[in-house]
């Protein structure tokens, strides 16, 4: 990678198993609170009209919750932000329901199921919820989806010189897909990234390619979360930010390549 890519983190949003939001997760990652895993609880989604809300699947509510938290913590106007959505599998529950109906005698799938089947469903509902009309991307890179989303956001920030909201999110499949893609639970992280330092900036991130191994987490349950949910490959970075530590953290990316992130806290 020539010419390292850089941005400042202005807001973080996080929802995961036993991790209600970013402050709760930051305490766990900083080691000031114990990690007590329990099934991911999604906050109520009040920003969508009731009719739209009823149509959304769990994964859409997951992605929106993280994105709304990151923008709220930064005091940013979500309507003006370009966004990068990255997910390794999209809405597994919806996919399962469609495949089940298509395998039956009557193949009439519901129109809502069909429009929710697109990989950019979360991006679409995000626009409806926030009024954001800027570019929005919807990426998938299997287990490398967090890294791919981060690179896309950092490249956009460099070229367009505007902030960008990165939302990486994954949720579990029901059986029988769960057996072939065993993601245990829902996890999302959102980073509001800006092209220059601001008064509220939390840390500067500079990314480069790396041949080193990815950093692991000491807590076996957090380490299991990191290795089992693609979006949670971000956890070593978030741990560094939660502790306010300066230094280089290596994250898993593609099979033959890791990402090295230089983290410089702003306080």
């Amino acid at each position: 990678m020539s010419g390292a890519l850089t941005a400042w983190v202005e807001g973080v949003g996080l929802v995961g198993p036993g991790l209600a939001d970013w402050p709760a997760a930051a305490q766990v990652l900083a080691g000031t609170a114990p990690y007590e895993p329990q099934r991911t609880v999604l906050p109520p989604l009040e920003c969508l009209p009731a009719a739209e809300r009823r149509r959304t699947g769990r994964i859409v509510r997951l992605a929106l919750a993280a994105g709304l938290e990151a923008t709220a913590r930064a005091g940013a106007d979500a309507a003006r932000l370009p966004a990068v959505f990255s997910s390794s599998g999209g809405d597994g529950e919806n996919c399962h329901e469609i495949c089940q109906v298509l395998a039956g005698a009557d193949r009439q799938i519901s129109p809502t199921r069909f429009h929710n089947s697109v990989h950019n469903a979360a991006s679409g509902y995000w626009g409806i919820a926030t009024g954001a009309t800027a570019a929005s991307n919807a990426l998938c890179a299997y287990d490398a989806s967090f890294g791919a989303g981060l690179l896309e956001a950092l490249v956009q920030i460099r070229i367009e010189e505007t902030p960008a909201l990165l939302i990486a999110y994954d949720a579990d499949y029901p059986e029988p897909m769960r057996s072939v893609r065993p993601i245990p639970d829902a996890f999302a992280v959102a980073l509001l990234l800006t092209p220059s330092a601001r008064p509220g900036s939390l840390a500067q991130l500079t990314v480069d390619a790396s041949e080193e191994s990815a950093e692991r987490l000491a807590d076996p349950q957090l380490e299991a979360l990191r290795t089992q949910v693609p979006a949670a490959r971000s956890l070593p970075l978030l741990r560094r930010m939660a502790r306010g530590e300066r230094g280089v953290v290596v994250l898993d990316y593609m099979e033959n390549q890791r990402l090295a992130l230089e983290v410089s806290p702003c306080h």
Partner: protein, 397 residues
Amino acid sequence: MRPLALSAFTATSSLGRGLAATLASLEAARTGLAPCRFETVQLATHVGEVAGVDEERLPGELAEFDCRNNRLAALALRQDGFDEAVRAVARRLTPRRIGVWLGTSTSGILETELAYRRRDPGSGALPGSFRYRGAHNTFSVAAFVQRALGLEGPAVVISSACSSSAKVFASAQRAIEAGLVDAAVVGGVDSLCLTTLYGFHSLQLVARTPCRPFDAERDGLSIGEAAAFALLERPQGRTGAGAVLLLGTGESSDAWHMSAPHPEGRGAAAAMRQALEAARLEPKDIDYLNFHGTGTPSNDAAEARAVAAVLGARLPGSSTKGATGHTLGAAGALEAVICALALRHGLMPGGLNTRAIDPALGVTYLLENVHAPLRHVMSNSFGFGGSNCTLVLGSAA
């Protein structure tokens, strides 16, 4: 933005394999749409099916990626020497410096649909032969193409429904400008499956007869399949007259509805304006527009309003979906390649199947092929979730 050269490109659709067959079909105004005989589908509709996809065999070392979508990708990569052109550039730049950005909407979902018919009657488990990563996952086509071409740079799939493989041009262009990579394989691959055929049917958006974009009596889209690829590089000193350049990209969101466009084409207009601005061109500089033009009443109406507002009523344009069908996640790349052929051969393809243009649309829609030198052309791609992307391509002077 800094222009890039499409130093190699190719397309395979129901019009044929590779550029020569595609151009010949366009010149002959021949549609690839035919009554749907796909799999066990029982819908009264026409589809643009690529012949011979199921006969394609992936080499042993790529067997884990076997599915209709990747077979279509493999077949298309071989056409026009595209794979060899990429390998030659990889030798010059090193495989690590070449990225892969591909669009797909449904990836290898057909395999999953078929596997769900063969679940274990007791446990409900999928058959042991089912491969999630190589076939089902949305990323599988990018992983497959990267491996097949021996590339080692960043690889990603953009999956924003029907704008997917237009948006890959924008993301790859930025990545090259930012120095993340020096060249990029971009494109789109989408193949027929039950989810999209029955899904669009459930939304009552599928035409019974071959789709008739911009017709007063248009009644929906026809689904097609395609694979189209381009190799994007910085223009070299030797980029000669007639070379095709990516000049501008524009991306926006409707923030309106999941499956219907903004009625005034608000997001479409924003994408077109941005693409013009990025290309540093005026509306009058565009010689031909390849409409998104799906043939559904509301899509064509919204796009026509946006086009009339941004580019005026006199710009000649057409939708090539009457020829290829709507190839969904492959449409952006397929129509970019058709635009590249238009520039290279001075051909504005007439829209097929349309009999009487809807006078309410107020745009200039070509029903016959027109031959004229073209300098700048535009292509629109809009998708579910309100995802819009516009590309501007041009000929090197």
